[in-house]
């Protein structure tokens, strides 16, 4: 397809030189700006504290000693933090799907009275940036209205707010709206209950959008910092981000860097595997939110 620069101009000798120059500059520039810091992090962890403080710095670590990663794992109790984070992200994922899928299904296919009002109220929450509601939301987690439960230091403090996601309800509802009604009518004539229709027909055809919502919800919880910082103050309950940040001051530099590497591995691996869905979710998220 034709873009800003015409294919003709690109084929001329001058065009080719310019093209390859820009390509080289871009590849080198991007690698330097976005990959090199990560390289510096991974190799930095392998350096001894002396080597880290050395001027000028060494480009390759002198000894290839993975022991610092073991140190980080043990001294920072990264195992506990990682296990906690898996628990928070996994639970949030299940809750988000259960709550938001059934809500979107009800709004899209069962069409109750006041359905539009409910959807509107859910979408309205997207207008209020989360940061400005931090204090009242924290107080809710501290002393849940009506139930009077203290959710601090429990996974519920992460799971329940994560499920209240207007954007996910909106994405799912929009997808459900596009499912042909004949499909559901046929099932209905066969005597399937709404729950059965949701489970056996709507869910299987909605796999792409469920995939996007799943990845987004897990990654969001995994990356979150401020909310877990407030609601999980106990060291044994901290998520990996909060744990590393709160212990960072007491750690030797190389151990801290090693823990940064370990903390970033899961999201990077997820990105390697689910690139496509993540980028699809990104464009869905920014333009239609």
């Amino acid at each position: 397809m034709r873009t800003l620069v015409s294919p003709l101009a690109l084929r001329s000798p001058r065009g080719r030189i310019i093209y390859w120059t820009i390509l080289t500059v871009t590849v080198v520039g991007f690698t330097g700006a976005f990959v090199f810091p990560l390289y510096w992090m991974v190799t930095g962890a392998l350096k001894s504290p002396d080597e880290l403080a050395q001027i000028p710095p060494s480009f390759f670590p002198k000894h290839f000693d993975l022991h610092v990663y073991v140190d980080a794992w043990e001294q920072l109790q990264l195992g506990v933090f990682l296990k906690n984070t898996v628990l928070y992200a996994g639970g949030a994922w299940l809750f988000t799907l259960a709550v938001d899928v059934s809500a979107a299904y009800a709004l899209s296919k069962l069409r109750p009275i006041f359905g539009k009002l409910v959807l509107g109220a859910m979408l309205a929450t997207l207008m209020i940036p989360p940061m400005v509601l931090l204090l009242p939301t924290y107080l809710v987690a501290k002393d849940l209205p009506i139930f009077h439960a203290d959710l601090l230091n429990t996974p519920w403090a992460i799971w329940l707010p994560a499920a209240a996601n207007g954007f996910f309800v909106f994405l799912l509802k929009r997808f459900f709206d596009s499912i042909p009604r004949e499909l559901l009518e046929a099932a209905e004539i066969d005597g399937a209950s709404p729950a059965r229709i949701l489970w056996s027909i709507v869910l299987p055809v909605s796999r792409p959008i469920i995939g996007v919502v799943s990845i987004l919800s897990v990654v969001t919880v995994w990356k979150d910092f401020v909310w877990p910082l407030l609601v999980l103050p106990e060291t044994d309950k901290m998520s990996i981000s909060v744990g590393i940040a709160s212990l960072s001051a007491q750690m030797p530099q190389n151990v801290l860097i090693a823990s940064l590497v370990i903390a970033s591995l899961p999201t990077i691996i997820v990105f390697f595997i689910f690139q496509r869905s993540i980028m699809a979710g990104l464009t869905a998220g920014s333009l239609k939110g």
């Binding site: 800003l4 050395q54 069962l110 109220a121 929450t125 910092f225 940040a245 990104l282 333009l287």
Partner: protein, 317 residues
């Protein structure tokens, strides 16, 4: 938005009343049953939203007008919390810093991704690699990215000063000087978020019809005129949406000052969100914190209202 486009369609519902049935009583009963089922499916979501979104909005307003120790019922103090907060010398700094942070983040974080996207869109090679790499920092947990940069900013053996040394520029004190601290925060924040904007612009650029460029070229428009008269008008709405989105996002900045500078040196990096956190969790004054939160909410609501309008327009296209 889809809400409106559905209104024109024939309402269809699973378990809806059969239009051929003359039995009104049965129809009513089925409608009630359908609504009960629907609200059964909705109740979990309603509880979650009520507890963690709708109620906190109300509570925010109430809190900001109360003196509260959360044991006794709160005492209504009118605008006292606002007066206290405004009288705080950090208040002025916080707003100025937040505005400066947003402004700087826009100057870098708004134009750069657009230029990158325009360049990326022209490249025929290494596309997948470039797209992957630019989004890589976005996938790092922000706490990791910020702590990583804290190490880079280290005045002694930090990467940045080492790099400056190579080109014979004297070292900077980055986070420790009032003149560079805020800019240092902007740099981290931009590095973390650049990929999002770039990929969104890239998606937008790909939908521009090629013949527009062709006819512009036939009319004798050079490269920059084609960008100015074709690329920018064609992506105008997305550019506007992203502008508003970014203002709202950057004005909530918290994690950078919290982890990098603690608001210092000399309040040079105190932001509104950070001050709000300090009021509540360091000074134990939730009233003052909520008053700040409410002020920030009002400012951001203005931007998000405009954003909503623009993105609707974009949706309608």
């Amino acid at each position: 938005m889809t809400v409106t486009e559905e209104q024109v369609r024939r309402p269809h519902t699973v378990g809806a009343t059969d239009p051929r049935s003359p039995d009104d009583h049965g129809a009513l009963r089925r409608a009630v049953a359908r609504n009960l089922t629907a609200y059964g499916f909705l109740c979990a979501a309603l509880i979650c939203f009520a507890l963690f979104s709708w109620y906190p909005m109300v509570r925010e307003v109430v809190l900001s007008f109360q003196q509260n120790n959360f044991v006794d019922p709160g005492v209504w103090v009118g605008f006292d919390n606002f007066r206290t907060v405004i009288a705080d010398p950090a208040f002025r700094s916080a707003w100025l810093n937040t505005a400066a942070f947003s402004g700087l983040a826009l100057v870098i974080g708004y134009a750069v991704p657009f230029v990158l996207a325009v360049v990326l869109n022209e490249l025929k090679h290494a596309k997948a690699y470039l797209r992957f790499v630019v989004y890589l920092p976005v996938m790092l947990p922000p706490a990791v990215a910020v702590l990583l940069f804290k190490w880079f900013y280290d005045p002694g053996a930090g990467l940045f000063n080492q790099a400056l040394d190579v080109v014979h520029i004297p070292p900077l004190s980055w986070l420790d000087s009032t003149s560079t601290a805020l800019v240092s925060l902007v740099i981290v924040s931009t590095w973390m978020n650049l990929g999002t904007g770039t990929l969104i612009y890239l998606a937008a650029l790909q939908s521009i019809p090629g013949d527009l460029y062709e006819s512009a070229e036939l009319d004798g428009a050079g490269l920059f005129r084609r960008v100015w008269h074709v690329t920018i008008p064609q992506t105008k709405l997305i550019l506007l949406v992203m502008l508003l989105l970014q203002i709202v996002a950057t004005m909530q900045v918290f994690i950078e000052p919290y982890l990098l500078t603690g608001g210092g040196p000399e309040n040079a990096t105190v932001t509104v969100a950070y001050l709000m956190y300090q009021y509540a969790f360091n000074f134990g004054d939730f009233g003052g914190g909520s008053a700040l939160g409410l002020m920030l909410m009002i400012v951001l609501l203005i931007f998000s209202t405009v954003y909503l309008r623009v993105s609707r327009e974009e949706d309608a296209r």
